[in-house]
């Protein structure tokens, strides 16, 4: 086999980039965010008129923000210990430790990831009730590069030596994806990982859970990640059901504050609003920091932060373990 010529490489490169460009989002979200920002600007100028006017304005903003929130009955209750993934690999290459788990309600993807330096192995589960994955059997059948995983047909994609993905269906309702990168002979590693996967659930219990969410947003996922229990963090995301893959709101607890901004009252104490990042941050009694961010009005972010339910006993024991 010979190396492709420079012309062939350039042609393939242009084709590949054009194909990637076709995946660009449609701009709807960005236009909405710009429109919201433009609508907020005059109100910010009004705040300079005087202290009395500012107080009235803030009070009005809080009222609007409160109305934008759904009632507590409309959102899922905190459910620490929710299974993150019904499957676990029975084998991984030496040196890999688990550093990421992501789970969500309904048909949200469930992801576990192990790392060893820059090398990564992930195992993701999807439901065939998710329209995006409903056609998985036909897609697997259509791809030329097929393998057999525990007696069922799977497909290999993106096999470039040090990276490969393997997709298969352990039953008729779920699709599993083993993704390997930064590992020599990644295809064989992915196949060995997939062959070792068994039905063994792993849980996720982080430090926080959303309370009432702004109207139109629903809980998307909870993410716990870190390299050890000592540096583990929890993040929860919410999204518009019409665009579930794009988080519109994030809440996380971190060791250090992301910055300092305008003083705001949050959770009964003094917090901070970072206008540039659209983030409200407040120090918790534990000494860690709660940050709520999204392209939403400040008062709505504050209301979300006020409603966050804290869990004093997160389970970070698995973080950094093999």
């Amino acid at each position: 086999m010979t190396q492709p010529t420079e012309h062939e490489t350039e042609t393939l490169l242009r084709d590949s980039l054009d194909r990637l460009a076709a995946r660009a989002p449609d701009g709807h979200e960005v236009r909405n965010a710009l429109a919201r920002a433009a609508a907020r600007r005059p109100r910010a100028r009004l705040a300079l008129v005087g202290a009395v006017a500012a107080v009235v304005l803030i009070a009005a903003g809080v009222a609007v923000g409160t109305r934008l929130l759904t009632s507590p009955e409309d959102v899922p209750a905190a459910s620490p210990g929710r299974p993150v993934l019904a499957w676990s690999p029975g084998w991984l290459p030496d040196g890999f430790t688990e550093q990421y788990r992501e789970s969500g309600p309904g048909t949200a993807p469930q992801v576990r990831r192990w790392s060893a330096g820059p090398a990564r192995i992930s195992l993701s589960a999807y439901s065939t009730s998710d329209p995006e994955w409903a056609q998985a059997p036909m897609r697997i059948a259509a791809l030329p590069d097929q393998v057999v995983v525990r007696g069922r047909v799977g497909m290999v994609t993106g096999d470039v030596g040090t990276a490969a993905g393997l997709t298969w269906m352990p039953d008729d309702k779920h699709v599993l994806v083993a993704q390997v990168s930064g590992v020599p002979d990644a295809r064989n590693v992915a196949e060995r990982v997939a062959d070792s996967v068994i039905a063994r659930a792993a849980g996720i219990r982080g430090e926080l859970h959303f309370g009432p969410l702004p109207a139109g947003l629903h809980e998307l996922s909870t993410i716990v990640q870190g390299t050890s229990p000592g540096d583990a963090t929890t993040e929860q995301r919410a999204a518009d059901p019409a665009r579930p893959s794009i988080p519109a709101l994030r809440a996380e607890i971190v060791a250090n504050p992301p910055g300092v901004g305008e003083a705001v009252a949050v959770r009964g104490t003094s917090g901070s609003y970072l206008a540039g990042e659209g983030t409200v941050v407040v120090r918790l009694p534990s000494g860690r920091w709660l940050a709520v961010s999204g392209q939403l009005p400040k008062d709505v972010l504050v209301a979300v932060a006020d409603g966050i339910v804290l869990d004093a006993a997160p389970d970070y024991r698995w973080v950094g373990s093999s």
Binding site: L12, R19, A24, V30, G161
Partner: protein, 166 residues
Amino acid sequence: MGFDEFVADRLDGLLRYATVLTDDPHLAQDIVQDVLLRAQQRWTKIEAPATYVRRMVTNEYLSWRRRAVRRMIPSSHEMLDALGPATADPATAYDERDAMLARLATLPRKQRAAIVLRYYENYTDDEIAAVLRCGASTVRSQISRALATLRAAAAPRPVLTTGAPE
């Protein structure tokens, strides 16, 4: 050109550029949105908006450290997108482009940015140098090294037809 007119005219192109640059539509959207929100606040002071915004998007990509480590790359969507109809030749073409995109993902960010500006935006060396804030010779060197990496990693492999016995 006013800000609204600029957005109406250029947003889709910016999102495509950012998607090609980042290899992640969601990250691309975040970056473009952040850049435009900042540009919106000081629009009247920006002399060459198109150049300014594109440079800002590129800079955000090159310096995107904090959010990059927080983000899970959505391989599932790419995997689905990689699948073509059940015909032999198109599937093979899809595999080659998918493999090329995987190799592109291994490049250092600055090399990737130079490649994208050259082969997607069709910029000249000088134009790329202006965006990346470096010399034209550095641009040529970055592109040369990137192409060498992409060519060296391109090892054609045989494609098995579905159901065909070996």
